[in-house]
């Protein structure tokens, strides 16, 4: 028999969303008003993120199976993966905007210093190499 769409609700409760939001709010409030408060907010956020990580490792919120699904054209993607891809798209736009802002500032300035005048080029190069090789190491970590 079928009832009108009233399925038993599966309620999974967690304090982490509330705590994380409180932590971030305290952090921002502290940044604007007094600094120790910001540290407290940061501590709460860090603690909550650890708790979320722990929950994930223990698979406390592992999804119940969705037996009937219409997924075209994304059958090949896990939903976590799709979520991260979508998130990366928004990241592209944030960093794209920042790079465009940099280009805009540079183009509209009447003079622009040479990089070596304000930065140490050697340290910059070392940092870049470390950054690039670290992602290389991650890729190797996955493939090996």
């Amino acid at each position: 028999m079928t009832e009108n769409y009233e399925r038993p609700e599966e309620r999974k409760s967690s304090f982490t969303p509330l705590l994380l939001a409180i932590g971030v709010a305290l952090f921002f409030l502290g940044l604007a008003i007094n600094f120790p408060l910001a540290m407290g907010g940061l501590a709460i956020s860090a603690f909550t993120l650890l708790k979320i990580f722990k929950d994930n490792v223990e698979e406390k919120f592992a999804d119940f199976k969705e037996s009937l699904e219409e997924r075209w054209p994304l059958e090949f993607l896990k939903k976590e993966k799709l979520g991260v891809w979508v998130f990366l798209m928004s990241e592209i736009l944030i960093f794209g905007s920042l790079i465009v802002a940099y280009a805009y500032v540079r183009l509209s300035s009447s003079s622009w210093p040479i990089a070596s005048q304000i930065h140490d080029v050697t340290i910059g190069m070392v940092n870049t190499i470390i950054l690039l090789t670290s992602s290389l190491a991650i890729v190797y970590g996955f493939t090996l």
Binding site: P17, A21, L29, L31, R71, K79, S90
Partner: protein, 576 residues
């Protein structure tokens, strides 16, 4: 059952237990229905706060040379009214309804990431609390207008901590909305139940999908701008205080977010209007696939119109031409959407319930607001109107009129779904009539205040603005309480007993008709529901209507009707 405790003792203990349990449950919930209700309640709370700010502004402007608010207080009121209404009321109210309705419409058990959904709600709530709390900080809140134009937003001009906190609060909201959009896009792409193909996806879900795609690309530029602003305010960089393009840089980043934001606010409203028209005219949406393509076209084009907010900043002639053209181009699919909505009513069996009336009001205001907006696509007219009350009138007709009326319609429409109770229809119609009249008394005079600059805290007697401003203030004090009564009508209905009717509108969309199979412990595949997709009246008149039904993918039921077989019953719920 050896010992029976005293009855009154039992009740009081139990009651406390229930209260504690339910508070804990609401604080920790990750269920999409509960989060949706939290969103709606919070958005209505912020609407009340922002509405109070609006009423204060109108009180100040009622008389020339009025002293009700000093200029600094007035500036804060303008800023907070704008920021709260656009970012903390209209956007989340649509998201709240979507939270409740979208999983039901696609037959998903929940959103794809329920915990992240709860996180975006709490982040939204606390960001709003932070923004409102800026008023109580020493030095006051932000006083720059909701656009936070540079270099007014830098530490030289607004050194109060309230301004810093407001910037951080907006960043927090941007994070919350980005999380929501990731969640909704993944859910709609990935968690549909069997039979809910893209072709059959309900129109409100389509609208939410495009809203979230827009939010995904509109909010990051704002976040980038805010990050640069934060670095200006904390680290002493000069991105926006620079005299070489600092102000224009903020304009670019802000309006690249700002114009799509209009569509982020309006799309859920249009989705709701489509759902309500389908249900109360007992017809399928006119040109359903074209409607969706028009949504896609608006989404695509909205990334290329932001410069029309900057015509008067001294941009060169070719930019004026390009963005004048794109602005006119985006109005074409938008008009297509409105025309499709109106044509849905053609030959429909129209029931004038409260949601329907609110949607009529929304169609009226989107037409007027749209026409007055398209005029600004022409740089010549934009030079004349820019920064006047004409603009204020235009965007209030679109934002306050269309979106607010349509969201109220959505709230009324889905109220029986959410609470299983019927509101008072009579009272709903009365509050609709008063609020619609009040709305027009409030905002129509703005179109005649062509010379009055925006955001001025007062004006002289000699300017001649007094009469129209007084009329607008009277309208404000009709519209505000009437809108509050419209919400109150819903709240009062919570005292009524639960009604047995599960589908009081005889709606055919999936949130009403999709059913749950107890034995298989899973949601019925949409294929076997059938009724949800059948045309209410199998058309029989002409070949053209037949062609139309076939175009909308409903041929099967038409053929079934023609061959004399009985079409699947649509009255299942009435019998149960």
């Amino acid at each position: 059952m050896a010992h029976q405790p005293k009855r009154h003792k039992l009740i009081s203990d139990r009651r406390i237990e229930i209260i504690v349990f339910s508070i804990q449950e609401w604080l920790t919930t990750t269920n999409h229905k509960q989060v949706g209700i939290l969103y709606i309640v919070t958005a209505i709370f912020f609407m009340a706060v922002a509405g109070m700010f609006g009423e204060m502004m109108r009180a100040q402007l009622a008389q020339p040379m009025n002293n009700f608010l000093d200029p600094f207080a007035y500036d804060q009121t303008v800023t907070l009214h704008g920021l709260l209404m656009i970012l903390w009321v209209l956007t989340p109210l649509g998201a709240g309804l979507a939270n409740y309705i979208v999983p039901l419409q696609i037959g998903a058990k929940d959103l794809a990431f329920p915990r992240m959904n709860a996180t975006s709600y709490w982040t939204y709530l606390f960001s709003g609390v932070l923004l409102v709390s800026t008023v109580f900080l020493p030095g006051g809140g932000p006083n720059t207008g909701w656009t936070l134009y540079a270099p007014l937003n830098t530490i030289e001009f607004t050194s109060q901590p309230g301004m810093t906190l407001a910037v951080l609060a907006i960043l927090m909201l941007a994070v919350s909305i980005t999380m929501s959009s990731i969640n909704f896009i993944t859910t709609i792409a990935r968690n549909r139940t069997k039979g809910v193909t893209w072709k059959r996806l309900p129109i409100f879900t389509w609208a939410i999908l495009f809203t979230m795609v827009l939010a995904l690309f509109a909010f990051p530029p704002l976040a980038a701008g805010l990050l640069l602003l934060i670095s200006d305010r904390f680290l002493g960089t000069v991105f926006f205080s620079s005299t070489q393009g600092g102000g224009i840089l903020w304009d670019q980043l802000f309006w690249f977010f700002g114009h799509p934001e209009v569509y982020i606010v309006v799309f859920p409203a249009l989705g709701i209007i489509a759902e309500v028209f389908q249900t109360f005219a007992k017809k399928t949406l006119f040109s359903r696939s074209a409607f969706i393509v028009e949504f896609a076209a608006v989404t695509f084009l909205s990334a290329g119109v932001w410069m029309h907010h900057m015509f008067t900043t001294g941009v060169n002639y070719s930019v004026l031409q390009t963005f004048s053209f794109t602005t006119l181009a985006i109005s074409v699919p938008f008009e297509g959407i409105v025309i499709a909505l109106v044509l849905t009513l053609y030959k429909g069996r129209i029931q004038l319930n409260t949601p329907m009336l609110f949607c009529f009001a929304a169609i009226f205001t989107v037409t007027l607001g749209g026409v007055t907006g398209v005029l600004q696509a022409f740089p010549v007219l934009d030079y004349a109107f820019n920064g006047t009350y004409w603009i204020v009138g235009h965007f209030h007709y679109v934002m306050a009129g269309t979106t607010l009326f349509a969201l109220l319609a959505g709230l009324y429409y889905w109220w029986p779904k959410i609470t299983k109770r019927k509101y008072s229809e009579k009272f709903g119609v009365i509050t609709f009539a008063i609020s619609f009249v009040g709305f027009n008394i409030l905002y129509f005079p703005y179109f005649f205040l062509l010379d009055m600059p925006r955001r001025i805290s007062t004006y002289t007697v000699a300017s001649g603005f007094a009469n129209l401003n007084l009329i607008a203030t009277i309208g404000a004090y009709i519209f505000g309480p009437a809108a509050a009564l419209a919400v109150l009508n819903l709240v009062v209905s919570l005292r009524k007993p639960v009604s047995a009717e599960s589908n009081p509108w005889e709606a055919r969309e999936m949130e009403w008709t999709l059913s749950y199979n107890d034995k298989a412990a899973e949601i019925q595949p949409a294929d076997s529901v059938g009724a949800a997709f059948d045309p209410p009246d199998p058309p029989k008149e002409t070949w053209s209507s037949r062609w139309y039904w076939c175009r909308t993918g409903l041929c099967k039921s038409v053929e079934a009707h023609d061959s004399g077989r009985e079409a699947p019953s649509t009255k299942k719920t009435g019998e149960a």
